[in-house]
């Protein structure tokens, strides 16, 4: 009986970790994988969005809009960076995955939780 309980407990933990890994993977596989080797760092992009859009809701909405339909008007990058790196290609993530990735991104760089 005790063995069964331990097995169920371990399976639950593994399941939770797998889910977390899955979430991480959406952001890590689709965002971090490129940006970590690029000169255009994700934290810089985050602060560019923050200075232009202010709140969580407006930042996330602006990010989704841009990633689904990248254009020069909505880009937060400087002209120099755009000239150097060019405009990003349209995302191929579906809405759910995109939202998950952006949520992880927000949580990772949210200033409110990091200020002291």
């Amino acid at each position: 009986m005790v063995r069964k309980i331990i097995i169920i407990f371990l399976l639950s933990i593994k399941l939770l970790m797998a889910e977390e890994m899955l979430e991480r993977n959406v952001y890590e596989n689709n965002c971090l994988s490129c940006h970590q080797f690029s000169t255009l760092k994700l934290d810089k992009i985050f602060f560019n969005y923050l200075i232009k859009y202010s709140s969580e809701l407006t930042v996330k909405t602006a990010l989704i809009d841009f990633l689904k339909n990248p254009n020069l008007q909505t880009s937060v990058m400087s002209e120099d960076e755009l000239r150097r790196l060019g405009l990003k290609t349209k995302t191929n993530l579906d809405d759910e995955e995109l939202k998950e990735a952006i949520n992880i991104y927000w949580e990772l760089y949210n200033v409110s939780d990091r200020l002291w």
Binding site: L50, I51, K52, Y53, S54, V59
Partner: protein
Amino acid sequence: MLALKSKGTNLLKSERKTLTSFLLLYSFLSIVILLFSAFIYYNLQKDDMLQYQNNRLTEYSHELISKIKYLHNNFDKSQKYPRFVYFNSAIYDSSQNVIFSTLKEKQVKLNETIYKTRDNIHYVRLLDSYYLGAMYIVIEIVDDEEWLGFVKVKVILYGVVLFFILLFAGYFLLSLLLKPMRESILLLDRFIKDTTHELNTPISSILTNIEMIEPFKLDEKIAKKIKRIDIASRTISNIYNDLTYIALGNQIQSKDEMIDMKALIKERVEFFNVIAKVKRLEFILDLDDRIILLIDKNKITRVIDNLMSNAIKYNKKDSFIKIMLKKRYLCIEDGGIGVKKEQIKQMFDRYSRFNESEGGFGLGLSIVSQIANEYNLKLKVESKINIGTKVIVRW
């Protein structure tokens, strides 16, 4: 209070009540106006103070913005929110959610520029570039309320001075309004005094001469006529005595003496019996012996005469007048027309009459009331319409 005293002329109770009500209402309205003015003055002073603080707080906001800007651009190096000695601050995003705050008061009005809370002053500024996501910055300083102390002193000082000026103006206004009424009362009093003086000799002459006539020597018709003259003379005599009391009573020193109440009442019953017989009224007397009062004889006679005269005047024909004299009280009861409950309080006011069909000046019960006040006698009236009136005088 505006008491119109002139040779015994006082304002009636109802008039005093009106004056008191007027002054109370006037004072209340004056206070309301002063409070309203004080409120406006307070708000103007508060606006002045906030205007003055606005410049100082704008400087503080510049300081905070420059620090936030630095933090935004160097967030990877430091995440410490800037703190200042002179003020507290907070930053809010475009959804008005707090990003970080060191404010003591958490409730903030982001739609206002500068405002005062209970203990602090808040200054709100909108940013063009949202460093750290901040659309609004709020600066908080402690309000030492030094300005409020000055405002309070000025409001109290000017308030009291203005209140007394308004009160004096009210008093002056009221004096102007009352002048015609005061003159009417003085005129009436002067008339009563003059009339009284002129009545003295003819009344005495009529009464003396009637008493000298021997009725059994006259034939029946003339005797009847003489009796009518006798009744009329006694009525005039009673009125004359009332008028004399009103005109001179307050100026004459009371001569208190031991009065045998039973003997006095019997004497007055005999005097009024002639008048009572016209209405075929029966006197029912229940008088205890040895009731002695230390009182001015003329004054207690005025009390008894006026109560008895009223009991005759406002009685029905073939009715009764019951007089009870006991150790602690005198009660005169009639089976007459009675008065309404709400009129009882006004019965003792001078010139108040509730039945125009009967003669009189409305002085009788006013005199009774004055004498009762002088000797601490307690008056109580019980009356029922068409059943009768009972007046009790306690000592």
